[in-house]
């Protein structure tokens, strides 16, 4: 078990190094030339107006919020799915209750208009 995650950790570390290799190569061989316009933010050719770090639509946030609720509930379904065949009918009815609550949450978000993009 611990060995499995050791493998994953090594994959992540070695992988990062491998992905960084082309960056090292371009750092060594890519040309450099300096003039100020090059480092402007791209905005279809005209000088950029203001920063991009400004207000944006709150809907993006709302969807993430609904997602968090659902994702946390879905995590509980994974262990249930694995033992389902052994656990027998009681697992089915238990999960029916759980899924009913989940569906209720979806209906609530739907009716409240959290899923509307306006």
């Amino acid at each position: 078990m611990l060995l499995d995650w050791g493998y994953v950790a090594i994959f992540a570390i070695v992988g990062t190094l491998l992905a960084a290799m082309p960056l090292l190569v371009i750092w060594l061989i890519s040309p450099r030339s300096d003039y100020p316009q090059k480092f402007e933010t791209y905005e279809s050719g005209v000088p950029a107006i203001g920063q991009a770090w400004a207000q944006f639509n709150v809907r993006y946030y709302l969807f993430s919020l609904v997602f968090v609720v659902f994702d946390v509930e879905i995590i509980y379904l994974y262990p249930w799915a694995v033992v389902y065949r052994k656990a027998g009918p009681v697992a089915f009815y238990d999960m029916l209750v759980f899924l009913a609550i989940l569906t209720l949450g979806l209906v609530y978000a739907w009716r409240k208009g959290a899923l509307e993009w306006v």
Partner: protein
């Protein structure tokens, strides 16, 4: 790789095996997915639009991507003055790494010594669900770090899109896990010795495929980099090799999704006569072809249609499919 577990190998053997496996997967994905995938995409796009596609570099344009890579290596590396340099630079590493982490649990085939897999995690499917959604972190970092309006909108769209399609995908994964009674990808492939799960669970397969296309931000769900409105979306500001690394991440993720679909629904490496790895590759490329076919068949969704489709169609259908399957499994097993 996943050779038969001898009684506790010395730690340095394990270490070198892990490193060798990582290098093998990285180079494999870089060559097979990114290099060949880009070429295939351009060739198929050309074919579907009644034009030729790349043709001049090498025989039938086979070396086009290699030429492109060499070209990109020589390009200047520009960090915009207003960008958040740290986030801007590290996003380049996060996206390909997140995409490639998926490959840890994909069984590419089987050998005399056991399944050909980097590591058969006992929670493989859950691990895949977790790592495949890590890409969104990199995309959001790129979008935010660029301090570019197009990039920011692209990153935000990507975040809301990928999290929305995460849920139907999770429901499809759970349905399969329930049928197989395991989260290990090797065991799921073994469980498909009789029927493929695509036959038993066509609805889950369809949901998974749709969600997969959405997760990798391809047409018709490519709002993230909708070139007609957002230039190049979250990687508008990236040049040269950094741009190429994003491409590696995108194609790596696309191939990972297709490979997972093969593993979970199309029987993995199972097939008659031909060697297992070859079967895996054939199925993988068949699905990749479907992805490319879809790209030239459907127009792009609008963002409200996109999110409505996830929340009001895919999730209810996915939940219903899960309950019906659970009921069916319970009745059969009594």
């Amino acid at each position: 790789m996943g050779l038969a577990e001898a009684a506790a190998l010395p730690w340095y053997v394990e270490l070198w095996r892990a490193i060798a496996g990582t290098v093998l997967i990285f180079s494999g994905v870089a060559v097979v997915a990114a290099m060949f995938g880009v070429l295939l995409e351009r060739k198929i796009s050309g074919w579907m639009q009644s034009r030729l596609g790349p043709k001049h570099v090498g025989p039938q344009g086979l070396l086009q991507t290699i030429a492109d890579t060499i070209k990109l290596l020589q390009k200047e590396n520009i960090v915009p003055r207003n960008a958040d340099a740290t986030i801007f630079a590290s996003a380049v590493l996060v996206v390909p790494l997140a995409a490639l982490l998926d490959y840890v649990v994909i069984p590419f085939g089987t050998t005399r010594w056991g399944p050909l897999i980097f590591r058969d995690l006992n929670i493989g499917v859950l691990y895949f669900a977790a790592t495949s959604s890590l890409v969104v972190v990199g995309i959001l970092m790129a979008g935010w770090g660029s301090n570019n309006k197009y990039a920011l909108i692209g990153g935000l769209r990507s975040a809301s899109q990928m999290v929305s399609y995460e849920i139907p995908m999770g429901l499809a994964l759970i349905t399969v896990a329930m049928l197989a009674g395991s989260l290990s990808t090797v065991k799921i492939v073994d469980a498909q010795a009789g029927w493929w799960y695509a036959v038993e669970q066509p609805l889950a397969f369809l949901i998974f495929l749709i969600a997969a296309v959405a997760e990798v931000n391809r047409v018709p769900f490519d709002l993230v980099e909708a070139e007609s409105e957002l230039v190049a979306g979250y990687f508008s500001e990236y040049t040269g090799m950094r741009f190429a690394l994003f491409q590696l991440g995108e194609y790596g993720e696309m191939f990972a999704m297709a490979a997972m679909a093969v593993t979970l629904f199309l029987g993995g490496w199972r097939g008659p006569v031909l060697p297992p790895v070859l079967w895996f590759v054939i199925k993988l490329y068949a699905l990749i072809f479907v992805f490319m076919w879809v790209r030239w068949t459907y127009p792009r969704f609008r963002i409200d249609q996109l999110l409505n489709f996830a929340w009001k169609v895919l999730i209810p259908v996915g939940l219903l499919n899960l309950v019906v399957t659970a009921f069916f499994v319970m009745v059969v097993h009594r």
